[in-house]
């Protein structure tokens, strides 16, 4: 069985569109993924360095404030910078979602969302919240069809991750730095999550000693939103350290030793199993077929973690091409695919008034249980349909879908046509009937979007 175009758009893309044809099967999707990243060019997201000037200036004001020399103008300037950084987060959010509306390479968006969730970072302060989109752009997106080890290296060296999981504050207890500041020492947060969440998985073959030794290897990694990433030998723990039975480094801490342990973790059999299962669960089913997981695991191991090859295996596997829709779309996916089906363009999204954007997208996401870029922990969002299709969550989805008339006004499509636009031949007879039997266009469109067929993938 090959991947049907409608299913390809729904299961592996950002949904069907009246403007953009469905991808013509697995090969077409993979070819697009191997080609140019046109959406990144159309809706650019700037480098992390673009945040530095504003954040550095805020820090100067804070320093003056602490010294008691900050003027009223300083504080006003700081507030303005803060507002500007906040606005930038929403600009980047609109850029990110606009890509999902316009793309004919939806697999790239979906893989970026998946991997950005696998390597969840949060902006811990207003200043760095815009950094979450930038992190995905810099550390995730370039590698979604590349090598897992390259993505892992990029993630662990990205200041957003170093800040989020407290690595930037950690110092080797026997480092040169700690000799003069004996209160300073290790923080094992990032090391633990790299093993538990990012590579081996919680069932993997590591113990507390491995967490500790990995944290010691990581001690020299520092990064912030003013100077970016650097490896600080002074803060590094003199080695060697033993992780999973292998020694890394010597007395003098070096970045190469960190890269070496990451490369080893990236191709570890436990990592292959963990990633294989996560991909199958995310894209196909909360209870994936064992053969699918095994096929992905084998592809990962055989290619040393080539994510393009692993993704190819996923799209070609019989259990990924079966029409039964088993997953529930997460709220972001639901909202983007709804707006895409309604024909909204990326340009319209990118230029949407901030208040309208909040009303149409941000608040509904929060109410549906997925506040934008703000999951409760580094494990990201839950996968199970039961976590999303709760009474309270579904109530919000229905209310949102039935209220879209308010936003689209006279541009609402005829529900009888819309059911085909949104779902092709995946719509049930009952839904086709219901779309035509609704009292208003708004209700008819709302019913299509609120249907199980549309909310599953």
């Amino acid at each position: 069985m090959t991947l049907d175009p409608t299913l390809a758009a729904i299961r592996f893309g950002t949904g069907r569109s009246p403007r953009i044809p469905d991808p013509q099967g697995a090969d077409a999707m993979l070819a697009a993924l191997a080609g140019q990243d046109r959406m990144a060019a159309a809706y650019p997201i700037p480098a992390f360095t673009s945040l530095f000037p504003a954040i550095a200036e805020i820090k100067q004001v804070n320093d003056r404030r602490r010294a008691g020399t900050a003027s009223k103008a300083d504080l006003d300037r700081k507030s303005a910078l803060r507002r500007e950084l906040q606005a930038r987060q929403w600009d980047l959010t609109r850029q990110t979602l606009a890509r999902g509306l316009d793309t004919d390479d939806g697999l790239r968006e979906r893989l970026t969302w998946f991997w950005a969730d696998h390597f969840t970072v949060l902006g811990k302060s207003t200043d760095t919240r815009a950094g979450v989109s930038i992190f995905a752009e810099e550390a995730i997106r370039p590698h979604v069809a590349g090598r897992f080890s390259d993505m892992l290296r990029a993630v662990v060296k990205h200041p957003m991750m170093l800040l989020y999981l407290d690595q930037s504050a950690s110092v080797g207890p026997n480092s040169a730095f700690a000799r003069t500041r004996p209160a300073r020492g290790l923080n094992e947060n990032l090391a633990r999550e790299v093993l538990e969440l990012h590579t081996l998985g919680v069932g993997g073959s590591y113990g507390q000693d491995d967490v500790r030794e990995l944290a010691e290897l990581f001690a020299g990694l520092t990064g912030n939103a003013i100077n970016g990433f650097s490896f600080n030998e002074n803060r590094g723990e003199p080695g060697p350290e033993t992780v999973l039975g292998r020694n890394y480094g010597r007395r003098k801490p070096k970045l190469e030793d960190v890269e070496q342990v990451l490369d080893d973790l990236a191709v570890h059999p436990d990592t292959a199993r963990h990633i294989a299962r996560k991909l199958a669960v995310h894209f196909v089913s909360d209870q994936p077929d064992a053969e699918l997981v095994a096929a992905l695991e084998a592809a990962f191991l055989e290619t040393g973690g080539d994510l393009g090859a692993v993704t190819g295996t996923l799209l070609a596997h019989p259990s990924a091409t079966r029409p039964r829709l088993q997953k529930a779309k997460q709220p972001t996916d639901f909202i983007v695919s709804s707006l895409r089906a309604l024909g909204m363009t990326g340009q319209e999204m990118a230029e949407m008034d901030p208040k309208a954007f909040k009303r149409l997208v941000l608040r509904p996401l929060e109410m549906m249980g997925q506040p934008w870029q703000n999951p409760s922990g580094p494990d990201g969002w839950p996968e199970e349909a039961e976590a999303w299709i709760t009474p309270q969550g579904l109530a919000v989805r229905i209310t949102w879908a039935m209220g879209l008339q308010r936003h689209f006004g006279g541009d609402m499509p005829d529900p009888r046509a819309f059911v085909a636009t949104a779902l092709g031949d995946m719509a049930s007879e009952q839904l086709v009937f219901a779309a035509g039997a609704a009292e208003t266009r708004g209700d008819g469109v709302g019913i299509v979007l609120a249907s199980p067929e549309f909310q599953r993938r």
């Binding site: 020492g185 923080n187 929060e366 976590a387 008339q405 049930s428 039997a437 609120a450």
Partner: protein, 413 residues
């Protein structure tokens, strides 16, 4: 004396229920109270996600080894503003608003407690195990249930409104075959009759959507009838007002308010969570924020419940404690033994339950964590036994499989 008599009568009633009398069959239940639970007591369980540092919240400042483990960035004891509880423990300053409850005998703690989870120190497995109430990490999503749901399973004939899972997340602790209600404050669902009819029809083909929409429609109806909802039209305006309600600050207070409204009516069990306990760095600020939410929540419950507070026990539990030593970044890392909080007019307060393990070098678990000396589940079990009249065999076999709750002191008045 009056109070004691009331409690005895209540216990008698409860025993009847636990023996298997349905509400309808109980001679103490009038037909009018059919929708209500077979008991009058209220149980609130708060899951503290992230691993609360029990050693900072309830500080064992009387342990001579404690000061040597903390004190760089994490100042402890009365000198740092903590309030003495019993000469050995002191309460974190951010919980000072709860000191009147301590004085009134409405607040207690259990210390050096943990779930059976050991060594991997993962939040996510730790929380799953805490909510599942089992000895091992539960398997995949399908077929898992939580201990509060299994408690409800032991009491036949309950209405779904007896127990509420509150908030936007799916709470494992209340999942299972016993019917419960799931809702988040501020949620509206209003449909034209025709749209409702059509949606019902298309949801019939998908059991998950069908169950969720049925419950959503039923709860919106009931909540509206209970007067806690405005009449909302099926448009963006309604959506807008519900979104506004959800995004202004104080979400935890809206959860508490919602719980109060339910618990004052037919609801007897409520569960929700408070996040923000994963204090790897800058713990003195981070923990203070989380504790302020916990303290606000408990005070809001007490205030809102009014006379019902006297029949209420609030249990606040976390997935694990944190390292005995503070780390090198002014915080603490994932540990093992920790503390649990109990509050309410029904709670036997003014004490810290513990079998203190000591904090000397050889006393720590794996050389780094507070050694757990009691299973945190035993305190939840004891609370349910004393509050709701559940028998020990049900608690140790069905609700918390494999639990041995012997040796746990009285936790409820």
């Amino acid at each position: 004396m009056t109070r004691k008599a009331t409690f005895d009568r209540r216990r008698f009633l409860l025993t009847g229920a636990a023996l298997g009398c349905t509400a309808a069959a109980s001679p103490f239940m009038t037909p009018v109270s059919l929708a209500a639970a077979p008991w009058d007591m209220r149980l609130v369980v708060i899951i503290l996600r992230g691993g609360m540092d029990g050693l900072d919240v309830v500080q064992p400042y009387g342990d001579p080894a404690f000061a040597g483990l903390r004190g760089n960035a994490l100042k402890v004891g009365e000198a740092a503003g903590a309030a003495d509880l019993d000469g050995f423990f002191a309460l974190h300053p951010a919980l000072a608003p709860l000191m009147p409850l301590w004085a009134a005998g409405e607040l207690s703690f259990a210390h050096a407690v943990s779930t059976p989870y050991r060594d991997k120190r993962s939040h996510f497995d730790g929380q799953d195990l805490l909510e599942a109430g089992t000895a091992d990490v539960p398997g995949g999503a399908a077929g898992r249930d939580g201990w509060l749901n299994r408690m409800l399973q032991a009491v036949p004939g309950l209405e779904p409104e007896t127990a509420y899972a509150i908030g936007r997340e799916d709470l494992l602790i209340l999942k299972g075959t016993a019917p419960v209600a799931n809702w988040a404050p501020g949620t509206r669902l209003a449909l034209s009759p025709q749209a409702e009819l059509l949606l019902n029809r298309i949801y019939e083909q998908d059991p998950l959507f069908h169950a969720a929409s049925e419950e959503a429609l039923r709860l919106t109806g009931e909540l509206a009838a209970a007067g806690s909802l405005e009449d909302a039209g099926p448009d963006m305006a309604a959506m807008q007002s519900m979104m506004e309600a959800a995004t202004t600050g104080g979400g935890h207070l809206r959860v508490a308010e919602f719980a109060v409204n339910r618990l004052r009516a037919d609801t007897r069990v409520a569960a929700f969570s408070i996040n923000g306990w994963d204090t790897h760095r800058g713990q003195s600020q981070g923990l203070g924020r989380a504790l302020a939410q916990l303290s606000d929540t408990i005070l809001a419950l007490k205030l809102g419940l009014g006379p019902v507070w006297g029949k209420t026990a609030v249990l606040a539990m976390t997935e694990f404690g944190r390292t005995a030593r503070e780390n090198g970044t002014g915080g603490t890392d994932h540990g093992t033994g920790g503390a649990m909080l109990m509050a309410g007019g029904a709670v036997r307060g003014g004490l810290v339950h513990r079998d203190w393990p000591g904090m000397g070098e050889g006393d720590l678990y794996a050389g780094r964590d507070l050694m757990p000396t009691a299973d945190v589940r035993s305190y939840a079990a004891a609370a349910m036994r004393e509050l709701l009249g559940l028998d020990r065999a049900t608690l140790e076999d069905a609700i918390f499989p494999g639990l041995d709750m012997s040796g746990i002191g009285k936790v409820i008045l």
